[in-house]
Amino acid sequence: MPALPLASAKRHTSKRVYPPKPAQVYLFGTCLADTLFPQSGLDAIELLERQGLEVLFPQGQSCCGQPAYNSGYEDEARVVARHQIKQFPLDIPIVVISGSCGGMLRHHYLDMLKHDNDLEVAAFCERIFEFTEFLTCVLEVKLQDQGAPERVALHTSCAARREMDVHITGKALLEQLGQVELVEHDYISECCGFGGTFAVKHGDISGAMVQDKVKHLLATDAVRYVSADWGCMMNINGALEYQQEAFRGEHIASYLLRRTRGDNA
């Protein structure tokens, strides 16, 4: 039954040739999940392990460098990028649980480190997979929904959509859940207004954007929204909490694990 979404997901990400299922993977936890939202990291590990993979989490990893890079401080970002590359020495996939960090690691490292050893950098970037992309296109997971019927919305980050070209894979995973109905909110492809330091440097524009995003999500009859990017979720959930709304976003790793494990929080 899930053949169709899977097939279309593969077609949409056909810019890339996917490797066969590996025995081991690295997890790039991202600094946001590490500091603020660790449960999603643990849930991602559990989901990957259930697929029979061994998940390695190098303790030396830190931030991908995006905050400095996006602020124009490329030299500072570059040393951080070189440091990350050293933390993942084995030739196995690196799964990233946030789309924008994935975009940074996969695409911007190539630009930023073009004067370094090209082959080493290119090989590293080639090993980067966004979490939903990896589940869909490399593992080709088959999910068994154990949860009660419910409606959810999906927020795909701009990075997943436009940099990683993987906005279709999150959808494909949710569509595998038999009891979950995916509802589409208005302006679904529009940015939530996070943009890292943009949210602080231009707080009023960013604020107007997130207020609209919240309005469109609340206008659906979904019970929650799901996303694979903590940057957006920190922004959207923060605005929801500020407005004293009970509606929240949940990381897709936690959501998939919960649905397929059968516990309904």
């Binding site: 936890g29 600094c31 999940a33 590490d34 500091t35 603020l36 939202f37 660790p38 449960q39 990291g41 643990l42 590990i45 989490f57 303790q59 030396g60 830190s62 931030c63 460098g65 905050p67 400095a68 890079y69 996006n70 602020s71 124009g72 401080y73 500072e76 040393v79 951080v80 440091h83 701009c158 990075a159 436009r162 940099e163 529009e190 940015c191 207004g193 996070f194 943009g195 890292g196 330091t197 943009f198 949210a199 602080v200 440097k201 231009h202 707080g203 009023d204 524009i205 960013s206 604020g207 954007m209 997130v210 207020q211 609209d212 920190m234 959930n237 923060g238 605005a239 909490e241 500020y242």
Partner: protein, 490 residues
């Protein structure tokens, strides 16, 4: 007597001051619900029209790639093509003038008009003439200068500037336009019917075309191979302006030159579809020479003013040069979540939206425009729709880099380094140390999690509309370690 000329610059430099007001403008326009509604509605309409004009994703991609390559080829040969264009145009009887600055362009145009003893000018739509503030300059010289594009006509009547490069009056709705006409057009029978409003405007303009001494227009493509000036428009006013008066002066930026006549059809096809969703514009004018002997109409003199105004600075850098690929369709602003919310005037620049953010620093210097490159979430919507594939987000990043560059680096962009603050630079240095030494990082994580109760309730702009999350009780790295240890113990 016009005393404005003494207080306000009558060339492009006047935008330096308004660009500096960006933050204030943003606060003002975000707080205007009518304005925000007008922009949202108009942008939804335009993005929808564009979507319908490109039914095939594959065709769109092929055409974008093709047009990107055309513009890149033309830019690669820019100096030669400009020379070829000049000699072809002059062979055809069109006189070419070069202007490095906006003030020079205005002086050239004013002198041409005065040589003809002209006092009445009608204008077709031209963003480059907005760039030079030509209307202000000519009015200061006592020359009447009337905009004839309906949107520009409205904007001029309101004493404003265009808020969009294709739809200059998009910030106004029909009842606002009706109010404006009621105040300014004698005998106007109040209505908000759009067709009647347009008809009223057209009637008021009709007479002006016939009595004007000079017509001024922009140029969409200047073809070097044949010496042809191409003008894309929908209202026929461009044709009137370029054919009825005795003299036609066209003004454009140096990047508008294309090598071959064959380059035009694909570019035109992408331009109109990206801009308004039209398969082709209502009018497409190709101007190759003045009125020839025996011909009954057409201007007796045709001039082209080619303006640099910072473009050669962008041209000198391989990455920034891509800025000049722009064919001014406006799709980037139509799809921009920032533009949709703050509108075109907030930018304070002639060109608003994503393209405005990357082109204005070359025209006005990075110092006056330093808030523009950072006013983007880098969502990538602009780059995704750009018909000539300008990597706008990447160029925004590049300009951010230029604006925090340390002193003493070779000059690339005028005003580079203007946004470098010692405190911010220091913070990023520290951040970089933290993220490259696992021991310090682990200690920082330990401190953040144990000191989570110290998280402030207020954190600047962030908490004006959001709450600030607290660090988790234990960071992911510790939880993973515990998990691994538990497993080993089992």
């Amino acid at each position: 007597m016009n005393t404005r000329a003494n207080t306000i610059a009558t060339d492009g430099s006047k935008y330096e001051a308004s660009a500096r007001q960006f933050r204030g403008n943003v606060a003002r326009d975000l707080a205007n619900p009518q304005l925000r509604e007008n922009f949202r509605g108009a942008m939804d309409y335009l993005t929808d029209k564009r979507r319908q004009a490109f039914p095939s994703e594959d065709e769109l991609e092929t055409l974008r790639r093709k047009c990107q390559l055309i513009k890149q080829r033309c830019l690669l040969k820019l100096p030669e093509l400009l020379e070829q264009l000049e000699s072809k145009l002059e062979q055809n009887g069109i006189q070419v003038h070069w202007a490095e600055t906006t003030a020079e362009a205005n002086t050239i145009i004013a002198e041409l008009i005065q040589r003809k003893n002209g006092t009445k000018v009608v204008k077709g739509k031209s963003m480059v003439s907005e760039e030079t503030a030509l209307n202000d300059h000519l009015q200061a010289q006592g020359i009447e200068c009337l905009e004839t594009d309906m949107g520009e006509y409205i904007v001029q009547m309101a004493g404003e500037h265009p808020s969009h490069i294709i739809m200059p009056a998009i910030h106004q709705n029909k009842s606002q336009v009706a109010d404006l006409f009621a105040h300014n057009i004698p005998g106007f029978d109040y209505t908000t019917d759009v067709d009647t409003l347009i008809r009223t405007g057209r009637q008021a303009l009709r007479d002006k075309f016939c009595h004007a001494d000079v017509g001024v227009t922009g140029v969409n493509f200047a073809v070097a191979e044949t010496g042809t000036l191409c003008l894309v428009e929908n209202e026929g006013n461009g044709r009137m302006v370029s054919t009825v008066p005795e003299m036609h002066i066209a003004i454009t930026g140096i990047e508008k030159v294309v090598e071959l006549l064959d380059d035009v059809p694909p570019l035109l096809s992408l331009l109109t579809r990206s801009a308004t969703g039209q398969i082709i514009s209502t009018y497409f004018n190709m101007i190759t020479h003045p009125r020839r002997e025996g011909e009954k109409d057409g201007p007796k003199e045709v001039h082209l003013v080619l303006l640099d105004n910072g473009r050669s600075q962008a041209f000198a850098d391989e990455e920034l040069r891509q800025t000049l690929q722009c064919i001014r369709c406006g799709a980037c602003m139509n799809h921009c979540p920032v533009y949709t919310r703050i509108g075109g005037h907030a930018y304070g620049t002639v060109y608003p939206g994503p393209i405005g953010k990357i082109v204005s620093p070359h025209m006005l210097g990075l110092e006056a425009t330093k808030d523009l490159p950072t006013a983007s979430s880098l969502c990538g919507a602009c780059g995704e729709v750009c018909p000539v594939k300008i990597p706008i987000p990447k160029i925004l990043l590049r300009l951010r880099k230029e604006s925090v560059k340390a002193k003493g680096e070779p000059l690339v962009v005028k005003g580079q380094g203007c946004n470098r603050k010692p405190l911010e630079a220091g913070i990023w240095k520290l951040w970089s140390r933290l993220n490259t030494s696992p021991v310090i990082y682990a200690i920082a994580m330990w401190l953040a999690s144990r000191g989570r109760w110290l998280t402030p309730a207020k954190a600047g702009a962030w908490t004006r509309v959001r709450t600030l999350p607290k660090p988790a009780r234990r960071p992911l790295r510790e939880l993973v370690k515990q998990r691994e240890q538990r497993r080993e113990g089992q």
